[in-house]
């Protein structure tokens, strides 16, 4: 009789401990906040990226104009059957074209590096301010297959990083 009572008590204690543990796990999972951010949109809408691209565009366009002028000179040399000059200009043209391609690739790489160098600490800061536990970067490569708007903090983060960038 006494044994049955004791067994019932122990069983109820175990059950209540297990259920409170379960409730705790569920509640703590609920407070764990997750957000999804479109990394490509964030990168492209960051004002610094746009400004750096404009600066580089001006420089690369100046180089490109030199190429255009060489093309015209080659045409003139070919028209006047000056093969030696045409060949010399054509070599110079190819050399410059390769240089322009290299400059373009290098500048893209540099902008990419500079922008992420600035964005990463800002994303950390944003996550901490919003009490987020996880920010998932969607990049169109299939890492995030679906999320509803509730989890999408891209516009908010874009506004945040641009405000910080403008030094306000």
């Amino acid at each position: 009789m006494k044994n049955t009572f004791l067994r019932t008590v122990i069983l109820s204690v175990i059950i209540s401990l297990l259920s409170s543990g379960l409730v705790y796990v569920l509640l703590s999972n609920q407070s764990r906040k997750t957000a999804v951010v479109d990394a490509i949109k964030l990168f492209n809408q960051y004002n610094m990226k746009k400004e750096l691209e404009t600066k580089e565009k001006t420089r690369l366009e100046a180089m490109s104009k030199v190429l255009d002028s060489l093309t015209n000179k080659i045409k003139v040399a070919q028209a006047s059957k000056d093969d030696q000059t045409a060949k010399m200009l054509f070599d110079r043209f190819n050399q410059l074209k390769q240089q322009l391609r290299d400059e373009y690739n290098q500048s893209n790489q540099l902008i990419n590096q500079e922008v992420w160098k600035r964005l990463n600490p800002l994303i950390d800061e944003f996550g901490k301010k919003k009490n987020l536990h996880l920010i998932i970067g969607a990049n169109g490569m299939g890492s995030v297959l679906y999320n509803d708007e509730y989890y999408d903090l891209t516009p908010e983060l874009v506004t945040y990083v641009n405000k910080q960038y403008e030094g306000r």
């Binding site: 610094m48 400004e51 750096l52 160098k117 600035r118 990463n120 600490p121 030094g167």
Partner: protein, 207 residues
């Protein structure tokens, strides 16, 4: 009726507090200018580097300059400063105590090139947007600390177009960091923030 009276009293109190600028003694004034919460000093943080941009009101400049100079002519200096804006752009590495100029330099030539950039070229990468005008520096100085500390400072000055005796409009200074590849560093100072700068209580006061 009571609500009406309360409204009138509130407006009176608000306007009374808004009219008088705060007055601070020299030490408090310097502290005010340097304190982050007053928005005259802005920090831009990167992964391994930090830039601090300090706007320097005229009284602040005068207080610091006159510290160890009993013959300092305050009036003359204030006249020289009228119509200009001055900033310190300081930077340091956050992951080391070594100067950013020295850290990661592979040779003495490398260090010299970095130093040469700050001595002769960095000023070309700095602009100030004042109201609708984009201004280039009229004065630039790189404070070479010869590696005695990790922080390096560029001191830069601009002259306002028109006849503004002191900055009255929104200002945004930007520096394009071509050397350490941190992109464009910006700091904004709103007209409101500038208007709120307290007055110096006693101009003969020194720190």
């Amino acid at each position: 009726m009571k609500v009406g009276k309360l409204y009138v009293v509130s407006i009176f109190l608000l306007s009374a507090t808004g009219c008088g600028k705060r007055q601070l003694n020299a030490a408090d004034y310097v502290h005010y200018v340097q304190e982050d919460k007053n928005h005259l000093k802005k920090a831009v943080k990167m992964q391994d580097m930090e830039f601090d941009i300090q706007y320097k009101p005229y009284d602040y400049i005068v207080l610091l300059e006159s510290r160890n100079d009993p013959a300092y002519d305050r009036e003359k200096r204030m006249k020289q400063l009228a119509g200009t804006a001055w900033f310190n752009i300081s930077f340091h590495k956050t992951n080391t105590e070594i100067s950013a100029l020295k850290e990661g330099a592979t040779s003495l030539d490398d260090y010299d090139q970095r130093l040469n950039y700050f001595l002769n070229y960095a000023s070309k990468d700095i602009v100030l947007v004042y109201g609708g005008d984009t201004l280039k520096p009229v004065s630039y100085l790189f404070e070479n600390n010869y590696n005695v500390g990790p922080e390096e400072t560029m001191v830069v000055g601009f002259v306002f177009p028109g006849k503004d005796p002191a900055p009255l409009k929104d200002m945004q200074i930007s520096y394009y960091d071509r050397l350490f590849h941190n992109g464009i560093i910006k700091a904004s100072f709103s007209a409101e923030t500038l208007k709120e700068i307290p007055n110096l209580l006693n101009t003969n006061n020194k720190i």
